[in-house]
Subunit: 105 residues, 3 copies
Amino acid sequence: MSLVVMVTLPPERAHDVARTLVQERLAGCVNVVGGVQSVYRWQGEIAEDPETMLLIKTSGEKYPELEARIKSLHPYEVPEIIALQFDRALPEFQAWLRESLEDRK
Amino acid sequence: MSLVVMVTLPPERAHDVARTLVQERLAGCVNVVGGVQSVYRWQGEIAEDPETMLLIKTSGEKYPELEARIKSLHPYEVPEIIALQFDRALPEFQAWLRESLEDRK
Amino acid sequence: MSLVVMVTLPPERAHDVARTLVQERLAGCVNVVGGVQSVYRWQGEIAEDPETMLLIKTSGEKYPELEARIKSLHPYEVPEIIALQFDRALPEFQAWLRESLEDRK
């Protein structure tokens, strides 16, 4: 089973986190989407922040380790980490993704 | 069950709709993604419009009320409102989302 | 069953592919999201490319034909083509989407 994991980050941190996750084989590919404005409720008030969104492609098997790593890298106390399951995908892309996540010596 | 709800809007309306949905506790958090160009078929012709996308985090229980509210705020006759289910998420984020959606006195 | 299909492309190709898919009734609507930076592993190294993301709204029935068409239009050997299933959607939008995908004489 494969997943798209959505994470939002302060813009200045997004690129380094994306590279780290690919470097450590926790993600096969990360799309870094800039120019996001996030609106939320914090301590009873409506707050807004500019953010960057990561769309992280990984497997169900890697997810627990990925989630823990994002938590350790993320500056927020409660980061947004949401996983959506692929319904289908190009088979060659699925194969490439599995291979990208395999640990090598 | 939690949902990411995708909605596209004219850019000048997106920010106010996002704030309204959080203010009314129909969404815990909304990401406003600018710079979208939408291509579609309308009355037999290919049409294009600049739009802004909202990625709205909510619960299955709130969805019917959220959908009705977006319809009432949206300038199009047939707005795009699509909900995707979380497969998993950071437990602390899920707890924060539930709390953000609770009605308070 | 309806799908959101995520595809990433070189920015200069994205707009034409979006129009072609709508023109050929393989998609009811395509959102073209610019300003994406993709990070991935290629031949053992971390690589990065500017890309544009398409979010393609289609049906499960049309998916095989859509996937084949994207492969034929896409300049990469292994394009990213990922489909996520709608959990719910505005009924009028679902009806509009079905109608947009119907072949006409």
